[in-house]
């Protein structure tokens, strides 16, 4: 039994139109590579089907997006595809898709003992580390001359270095241009949170649950920063503690 290839090849998109669709989907946050090829092809097929009916490109493309529930629907597919490919964290992730950070935080707080929930690995791959430029507790001065104590550890790394969750947790995305820049706060338990600052880009969504070692963002130089580095903090009951007690670096 054979049905003809349903791709309406009578009206294939031009390379420029395909490039437009790829760029537009990426701009809308569809950056999960394993899914992007699927989505691009599917949206292109839907667009071609409407072009074949005589719709102009822009209308055809808009209708194709609408078939997925718009950009929001596409991102939902992306979240589901991500979690589907990571079966070991399915339960934790499923909580997130209720898109309720609160429920997820509660879940994290209730269902794990504290020791499993504290950071225990480096937030970067060791080979990316150029050097540690500032230890915890080191004294410094701000531009205004105020004495400050360093609340974390600064890892000098190349721009774009992948940043990983140091323990399972729930994501909070922040943008603080005058201080931490683009930064991620992970809530691991009632006791522990960790913070990853001066990022160039996020790889997770607000409210998402992540496993230890999951990619969460990319290093950068946003906020109060004078060169690409990761400022990494571990907080215990809201107070910064020495992160170097929570990873092995020899």
């Amino acid at each position: 039994m054979h049905t003809p290839d349903p791709s309406p090849s009578s009206a294939p998109l031009t390379d420029a139109q395909v490039a437009h669709i790829v760029a537009d989907l990426k701009r809308r946050g569809l950056l999960y590579v394993p899914l992007l090829d699927d989505l691009v092809d599917h949206v292109c097929c839907l667009t071609e089907a409407r072009l074949a009916d005589g719709d102009p490109f822009e209308d055809a493309y808009a209708a194709a997006l609408a078939d997925f529930g718009g950009p929001r629907g596409l991102r939902r597919v992306q979240r589901r595809a991500r979690s589907a490919a990571a079966p070991h964290t399915t339960l934790l992730r499923r909580m997130t898709y209720a898109s309720s950070a609160f429920v997820a935080v509660l879940f994290v707080a209730l269902s794990f003992n504290a020791s499993a929930q504290q950071p225990s690995v480096l937030p970067i791959a060791k080979e990316h580390l150029v050097r540690v430029s500032a230890e915890f507790g080191q004294h410094g001065k701000t531009e205004r001359g105020t004495h400050v104590t360093h609340r974390g550890v600064d890892f000098v790394v190349p721009e774009g270095t992948p940043i990983y969750a140091t323990a399972p947790g729930v994501v909070e995305l922040r943008d603080q241009p005058d201080s931490y820049g683009l930064n991620i706060v992970l809530t691991h338990s009632e006791t522990y949170t960790s913070r990853y600052s001066h990022l160039s880009r996020f790889a997770v969504e607000d409210g998402q649950a992540v496993a230890q070692g999951d990619l969460i963002g990319y290093a950068g130089n946003t906020g109060r920063s004078t060169g690409p580095h990761l400022h990494y903090e571990v907080l215990r009951d809201g107070e910064p503690v020495d992160p170097s007690a929570y990873y092995e670096l020899d």
Partner: protein
Amino acid sequence: MDTTQLFRGTLQTVVLRLLAERGRMYGYELTQHVRDRTDGALTISEGALYPLLHKLVAAGLLDVETARVNGRQRKYYHVTAEGRASAAEQVRAFEAFVETMRAVLAPAPPNPSAA
């Protein structure tokens, strides 16, 4: 009657069975094929399809080949040996389920003692 709920649990069986039967298909093709074959009674939502395909790949039941078509990458999915066995097993389980439902829902034979 809205039958979405009835079909929901069967998506994995449908996808594995179709791929086992037809060799290799890409996502859009799967949705169109199911729609045409069932005269629109069963539609696979895009939102459910790709997470399922990725889950089945992660589980080793499907494999992917990529080819360049009309200026973009097209991902063709096909069953692995394990996927083929799983498809057969799921179809058997579903047929048994249908038999059971039929036995329960069919009009009961006349009860002789009630006569």
